[in-house]
Amino acid sequence: MINYITRKLNSVKNIDKDRSEEVTIVEHRSGWQLIDFKELIKYRDLFYFLVWREIKVLYAQTILGFSWAILQPLIQIIIFTVVFGKVARLSTDGIPYFLFSSVAIIPWTYMSQAMMESSQSLVQGQHLLDKVYFPRLLFPLTPVLARLVDFGISILIILAVAIYYRVVPTWNLLLLPFFIVLMVSIPAAIGLWLSALAIRFRDVKHAMPFVVRMLIYTAPIVYSASSIPETYRFIYSLNPIVGVIEGFRSCLLGTAIPWSFIWPGILTSFFLLFVGAFYFKRMEWLFVDVI
């Protein structure tokens, strides 16, 4: 709304001829409103530095530094391989368990961490929130982008495992960027919703670690999606994480792409992202007042 007025004023104004001046109108706004992409573009340098700060600071004063990005998922892969692969002997459609879980845990680690951080971004950034104005959308989006660096590094694990098991790349690999986009959209969507909620109700902070731990079992990360009964598959795949994991697996391992597991998730994730952005904008005005 505010920008609509701004634009309107800019177009009709002839107040000041010697320079094109921006006019800001400060007034109460609540209710649904559009996302101001023009403003977001104006703040792109800030966004860049916020993401960069997040990356710089993440492993500051650590001995292992970015090795953590490899170590964390690697240990989880090993544990899962032992517990679910060797002890529980879950079916993996004939794929070695280590390989099977590697390609799933790498995107999962990214999604879970980005989700956690994004949902806390407003609460953690309350100091900035209270002192300076910039588009509030940058708060939840910053960790979503910053964590991609970790993701990029941890891809090395997949590479090493793939070489070890002599996986031959197929044309499926070309679809990987699409699944990466889908992967990024999930924590972005969740982050928009939960960060706006967390600033009002700190319960989110206590619920998140628990919810994320549970979420890992809602997607075919430790088990194979083919073990889900036919009748429930549609409902099961409404969870967008399912689509990402299945997509990654088939792209990297060259198996047939199970679209029936993927497309429902695409719909839900983009729906969540879209509505989440609007919900965030709707709640934006009260963030500072309820910290």
């Binding site: 921006e22 800001t24 400060v26 340098d45 860049y48 109700f201 007042d289």
Partner: protein
């Protein structure tokens, strides 16, 4: 450029907050248990109510507000205009709504109703070094802080060397900021802010930190900011700074504009309206008043040439320090005098009652002695008075309490003061307006 143009127009701005509701405590075990199970619902309602204002209908244009009593009106029907190039001071007690006003104008928080129109790029400086991260180096923080304040990366690239130079921390520019002293952090933060180039600059009390030399440097920088045709909104508790930097001031009281006008008169009105006055001290109970067996002090006050007791005085105007005392025993040689100290505790001078009519022995009774300090004598700042009285032959001290009263000497930017046409800071314990003469000779070519 038309300097008469309004760059900020504020119309009927309101901002209300709801303060947290009172917690109810149940004193029976059963009640407490029930409360425990009901608490999620009551908590939900409580936190939700913090931003629900359905029950409030502000009457625009009037000050009467209907609504529940746990609502605080941080801003209540505030309207004003700011012209281009104006330096506007915003003063008021704590909780008067000064910071809320700045936050609304800089879009950090939204008003509950009313509107403000701002023409041009606005930058707000509510804190020095916003977004500084301790793990990042000075260099990195300059970029981070700069972009947070609304600069583009290219802009910072261009000004980087100047910023570092101004801050004086070039030696540590690649050291993480966590290893900086507080002073260095402030310097770095202010240096970034000093190179902002918005049309409108909003500043909240940020100069209250840092060492005094650097503060002065910042003041000079700010003064030059105002002179470049930039509009500045400045919140401060430092009245001296407000009168010096601002051409106009508004006084906020409980969310409303109480006064609006030239900075020095608004500041003077504000200072005199205060209930607690430090420029007057009266001992009602004679038993508690300082004194000996010959004389005791009854009151000390600082007044202007019109006889009004004030907190702050124009640097150009004379100041009278009045002492009321009672002489109990007759026929002593009395020596009433004042010692004047400045804010830094430096003893500026001593002045002794030299009234020729009272140089002899005095009879018992009450006396009121006033010392008149001429205008254009003090430097600006806070002055403290020690009021004392000795007897001669034998020499005894009857009273000499320190810091009985204090008063503020406020600088004037008018060119008939001792500062002439100099806009910057002036050091020194006193600032007399002296007679200067010039001899001139034409060059002989």
């Amino acid at each position: 450029m038309n300097s008469e143009k309004n760059v900020i127009t504020v119309e009927g701005l309101h901002k209300h907050y709801r303060i947290g509701l009172k917690e109810k405590m149940n004193d029976s075990f059963l009640g407490a248990t029930l409360d425990f199970f009901k608490s999620p619902l009551t908590n939900y309602r409580k936190y939700r109510s913090l931003y629900r204002f359905d029950d409030i209908t502000p009457d625009q244009g009037t000050t009467s507000i209907s609504g529940s009593d746990n609502v605080i009106w941080a801003l209540n029907n505030v309207s004003f205009n700011v012209k281009r190039g104006e330096v506007l001071g915003v003063i008021g007690n704590n909780g008067a709504g000064k910071t809320t006003l700045l936050k609304v104008l800089s879009k950090i928080t939204t008003p509950s109703c009313g509107r403000a129109k701002i023409y041009g790029k606005i930058s707000s400086l509510l804190e020095v070094g916003t977004g500084f991260h301790p793990e990042l180096t000075g260099r990195e923080n300059i970029y981070l802080n700069g972009t947070i304040l609304g600069m583009r990366k290219r802009e910072i690239d261009g000004k980087f060397d100047e910023i570092v130079d101004f801050s004086g921390v070039e030696k540590f520019i690649d050291t993480p900021v966590k290893r900086y002293s507080v002073g260095m952090k402030v310097r770095l933060g202010f240096s970034v802010a000093a190179f902002l180039e918005p049309d409108i600059l909003v500043i909240d009390e940020v100069l209250a930190v840092g060492d005094s030399d650097f503060q002065k440097k910042c003041l000079q920088k700010m003064e030059s900011v105002g002179k470049h045709g930039r509009t500045v909104l400045f919140v401060s508790h430092n009245m001296q700074m407000v009168t010096r930097l601002c051409s106009r001031a508004i006084l906020l009281e409980r969310g409303q504009i109480k006064d609006d006008g030239p900075a020095d008169s608004v500041v003077a009105a504000y200072l005199t309206s205060g209930r607690v006055r430090s420029s007057e001290r009266v001992w009602k109970n004679k038993l508690e008043s300082p004194g000996g067996d010959v004389a005791r002090l009854l009151a000390v006050r600082v007044k202007n040439d019109a006889g009004q007791v004030l907190e702050s005085f124009d640097i150009r105007k004379p100041i009278g320090i009045e002492m009321e005392y009672e002489v109990i025993k007759s026929d002593y040689l009395l020596l009433p005098h004042y010692n004047i100290f400045n804010e830094a505790g430096e003893w500026l001078f001593t002045t002794i009652d030299t009234d020729p009519n009272w140089r002899g022995r005095r009879p018992a009774g009450s006396y009121t002695a006033t010392a008149w300090i001429p205008g254009n004598f003090f430097s600006e700042g806070l002055m403290f008075v020690q009021s004392s009285l000795f007897t001669l032959e034998p020499r005894t001290v009857q009273f000499e309490p320190r810091d009985v009263v204090s008063f503020q000497v406020v600088d004037s930017l008018d060119n008939n003061s001792a500062r002439g046409d100099w806009p910057g800071t002036m050091k020194g314990a006193v600032r007399p307006l002296l007679k200067w003469t010039n001899d001139y000779e034409k060059p002989k070519f």
